[in-house]
Amino acid sequence: MSEPILRIEGLAKRFGGLEALGGVNLSVAPGDFRAIIGPNGAGKSTFFNTMTGLLKPDAGRVVFEGRDVTGEPPHRLARRGVARTFQITSVFADLTALENVQVALLAHARMSWSVWPKARPLHTARARELLNLVGLGAGADRRAGTLSHGDQKRLELAIALAGEPRLLLLDEPTAGMAAQERLESIRLVHRVARELGLSCVFTEHDMAVVFAVATHITVMHQGRVLAEGTPAEVRSRREVQQVYLGEAA
């Protein structure tokens, strides 16, 4: 087995008396498409926020490509090649779709400190390429805030891809979508990740979405990993059916 691209050991986070994460382990091999599932309150979002440096972990380690990145702030992690999206769609609403991607490209090119050149013509070709890749080429000049929910999710993906990440973390990439749209959306992510050779970790509620694309599944419950394995393995585990699959059925 090759060196994992992401290895998380015993990650723990408390909020006052509440144990949000009770020592989570996770190992993602390069090229994996890893789903993290679990009921509401299982700690999935806290897990995302803690491993990406938005929250400070109380214990545990986060190792990306063999390097300990525990507690590094998000901007530093982004520069190392980790991109993420948010459960609540998170774009730059007053900027056009094209400008949204430009901002990310400029940051990736370490140009966010550049005060003299005019930004408007910079990196537009690459920005359009990325918008085309996610199927948003036609909306390039619209303000991001006026795009439909699904298109904002596509835009978020384009923003995330602008940094040429090797690991993509998606927090509920299909939240707020209709069932059919959800499958289309995750397939888009899946296709793009395959094309670009990215590894991916995503949280998801919709089992149809999970089983459509995941190579591995981690089941979380009350801040801990309850089960882990291939989709077939996870599906057959009884305790998983009890806490999660059963609940959904």
């Binding site: 901007h75 520069r79 730059f92 609403a93 550049s114 930004a119 408007r120």
Partner: protein, 301 residues
């Protein structure tokens, strides 16, 4: 091209058509236009409401006054150094205030800037040997012909134009783009690899430095600085000017500054209740024209 040439011609010809009094007012407009625009680089582009911006305008004014009155340099040299000293000192003060203030956002950021400004106000009031205390520093005068308003107008115009050009480049640059993204969504911008607080701090320093230059230019026009320049009520002025002119355009706050200053002259000539009139104008404007005066040019959606 006409967008630059016509205003340039008007601004260059203006003092030829104005009385000495109105030339003096025009200088005030120039200084406050720079003040309001530099303030709005923070508010309109960076989404940061500073409630202590008078600190920088005041520090710039005091830097100019202290350099002229207390440094013991030849008058010509001291005067030549004033704009650069004002920029530098205000930038340093903004750096110190900014390091603390950008740790928080929203109302807490505003309160931190407010607190630092009150601290500087107290220093201006109490450090009498340097600042002149309650009496301020008076009798500041540019050397030679520049003491006449008409020439000083051109001197101030040159600095304000250069400063506005720089600030315009700044907001149009990749840094400016990043600032707008940061206003829209600070959390998201972290995850594309931007150090949010460092960018906020840089914007704060640039804004403070040019507010300081504006203060110095104004101090040499009126000939005095007073602790009142650093009082908290003075921090409302750039906010009102920016909102009046419109925070979503680069020059909107400059228009706001011009309207504010001229209205103040007219109304205070008729009544001592001019803040009352100004208050009513602002209420009407915010309710009827939330985009400010510069919003008038845009067609309704």
């Amino acid at each position: 091209m006409t967008r630059i040439v016509i205003p340039a011609v008007i601004l260059l010809a203006l003092p030829l058509a104005l009385s000495q009094f109105w030339t003096f007012i025009a200088i005030e407009v120039l200084a406050f236009a720079l003040y309001a625009v530099s303030f709005n680089v923070l508010l309109g582009y960076g989404g940061m409401l500073s409630f202590g911006h008078a600190a920088f305008f005041g520090v710039g004014g005091y830097a100019a006054a202290i350099l002229l009155k207390k440094a013991g340099l030849p008058a010509g040299l001291a005067f030549a150094l004033v704009p650069f000293a004002a920029l530098l000192v205000s930038a340093l003060v903004a750096l110190v205030i900014g390091i603390f203030s950008v740790q928080r956002s929203g109302i807490y950021f505003a309160m931190l800037t407010f607190a630092f400004q009150m601290l500087l106000y107290t220093i201006a009031l109490k450090a009498t040997s340097v600042t002149g205390g309650d009496d301020g520093l008076t009798g500041l005068k540019p050397p030679g012909a520049l003491a006449q308003p008409i020439y000083y107008y051109y001197y101030a115009l040159a600095f304000v134009a250069a400063a506005l050009y720089f600030l315009h480049r700044l907001v149009s640059s990749p840094f400016g783009f990043t600032l707008r993204a940061l206003r829209a969504n600070a959390r998201r911008v972290q995850y594309v690899g931007v150090n949010v607080r460092a960018h906020q701090l840089a914007a704060f320093v640039a804004s403070g430095a040019f507010a300081g230059l504006a203060g110095a230019l104004f101090a040499l026009s009126t000939g005095n600085v007073f602790p009142g320049w650093l009082d908290w009520t003075a921090s409302a002025t750039p906010i009102v000017m920016a909102v009046l002119g419109g925070v979503h355009t680069f020059l909107g706050p400059a228009i706001g500054a011009a309207v504010y200053v001229v209205l103040e002259v007219f109304i205070s000539g008729h009544t001592e209740y001019w803040p009352l009139a100004m208050g009513m104008i602002i209420v009407a404007l915010v309710l009827l024209m939330p985009e400010g005066l510069s919003g008038l040019r845009r067609k309704p959606a």
